[in-house]
Symmetry: C2
Subunit: 329 residues, 2 copies
């Protein structure tokens, strides 16, 4: 027997076992039986049944997921903001002017109330100051290292692992059924990319997000992308369908979010012809994660919650629909 | 025997035959033996040899290709400009002001000399006027239909098939070796996407190019992307590495272009650490396609041709390196 045919026969055995066990077992073991799980399983079956009325060719099986609060923890403060705060403290010695300039002064003094009061504008200033002025590679190294090495105080695991086990199963289940999975986040594209592949199995080119502008610099044989202190694109609210058009070029057939910022993405997805699925994760689990919705400043879920039923969107109830929240450490 | 195991055994037989024939046969049959072909085969072998000094993990095997003049014909006039001219003639009844406004007036009168004299600025005006003011889906339908149905006068095939057979083989060969293949074009992203999958096997989300701005509009249950009469991004020259950063998020290890507009992309690619390959297609074949380089206004290849040897870039000579130019009709 040649080496090649030995390898092929081993391959068959593995494929056979895998196929058998996939049929026998539950592709979404961390999802409790219920309306949400049923809607997902039914949708995937419908769009993958050849000859069925809802069949969708694999190339068109585009699934988009928000990140903050949909794939990883966002409450009570976006992970990227925590990173920006840490970075600002690290960079402070190089910025003596921050000692007197708000919101940097407050941040360095640990006065988070004043930082909070500076609002989105203040937060953006901190983000831009800490996310620019370096090469793309340097930033990726910094963000990746911070996410892998900074421990979440409550969940006792690195921020890169504060991700939801049921969603990892869903992403894999979709890919196993010929879907291409994308992240469409309001958060920074360059912040998520360094860990998106190891965390979610999603390669960098399938990650979209907000960005700073950047430029190409070539000098003395070194060619680099340099990040500039200027907003490039805001991939949030009505920016999400625009980002999807520019980046993917196809309308998704499934979209999953958790806040009103995802409404336009989900509306754009479910308004398409044929079978579509829109889902919102509702954070209802104060015990295992957090409970927040209409009145929260982070991940506000109000209008979408109101409209979900009439629009046919599935509201996933974290407490009831999810058996486990996080992957094993 | 179960249906599943019958299918698996058929699968094995096919896989076995495919593996055997892939080993026996040439993956680049339309490439003549020579330095260019050797450099490509050697590079792919080196980066895919596990344990070898130049091994690159599959996730990092990013290959980027320019489109105009690299994957399809661009001479003597970019295909997209021809489309814009045809569209302008079609739209003219709705734009009575074009009868007196240049360069539209000249275009409608068939006075291409005046159109040409209006330069890039005039051309851009025509492109913007014909590429905006409709939904994304409408534009995709129009561009796709034009490319599939408009015959190239000399090559007697639709423009969508004025693509280079040796490059189709190279794209497939790279994908067969674990590469992800991307288009990084100065041309319009939305113009190429409708045919990129059927022409090159490249899905829309792996196509980058220049764009007009767009916005999301939702009304009466209809949710659409609308194309605006305003430049969004110019994916050319130093814009190419920026576009690659924003869209792919990884530095390519192989890049293929044909003009000075591709220099920054190829410089960015080959300046990376480890084994890299940069290639330029030199149009040297007046008989089977076209011969042009330093003095051409379309696809100028001057500086890159000068620098290629010292930078280790491969200059592919169309006349000598390519056995055939186009795929069978």
């Amino acid at each position: 027997m040649t080496r090649l045919s030995t390898r092929l026969i081993t391959g068959v055995a593995i494929a056979f076992l895998a196929a058998t066990s996939a049929r026998a077992s539950d592709p979404l073991p961390s999802w409790n039986a219920g309306k949400s799980k049923q809607a997902i399983l039914r949708f995937v079956e419908d769009v993958t049944t050849q000859g069925g009325p809802d069949y969708v060719a694999p190339a068109e099986r585009i699934a988009t997921f928000d990140n903050d609060g949909t794939l990883w923890v966002e409450y009570p403060m976006y992970t990227q903001a925590l990173f920006a705060f840490d970075r600002a403290k690290e960079l402070a010695p190089k910025h003596p002017e921050w000692k007197t300039k708000q919101p940097f002064k407050a941040l360095l003094e640990g006065d988070m109330k004043t930082v909070g009061a500076s609002g989105i504008k203040g937060l953006l200033e901190i983000v831009i100051a800490t996310h620019s002025g370096m090469t793309a590679d340097q930033f990726a190294d910094e963000a990746g290292a911070w996410l892998r090495n900074t421990q979440h105080p409550r969940f006792e695991r690195p921020y890169a692992r504060c991700i939801y086990q049921p969603q990892l199963e869903l992403l894999q289940y979709l890919r196993d059924n010929g879907f291409t999975t994308f992240i469409v986040s309001g958060g920074g594209i360059a912040f998520m990319r360094p860990i998106a592949e190891e965390a979610y199995g999603i390669p960098p080119h399938q990650v979209m997000g907000s960005s700073v502008a950047s430029e190409y610099r070539s000098k003395d044989g070194k060619s680099e992308i340099v990040r500039l202190p200027k907003i490039g694109f805001i991939d949030d609210k009505a920016g999400k369908p625009v980002g999807i058009y520019e980046h993917i070029g196809r309308r998704p057939i499934l979209a999953f979010g958790n806040s009103d910022s995802d409404m336009q993405m989900i509306e754009y997805t479910t308004a398409g012809e044929g079978r579509r699925l829109g889902l919102f994760l509702h954070h209802t689990d104060a015990e295992r994660e957090f409970a927040y919705d209409r009145k929260s400043h982070v991940g506000t879920l109000d209008e979408a919650l109101e409209d979900a039923e009439s629009k046919g969107w599935i509201v996933v109830d974290m407490q009831n629909d999810w058996k486990t929240i996080f992957p094993a450490r």
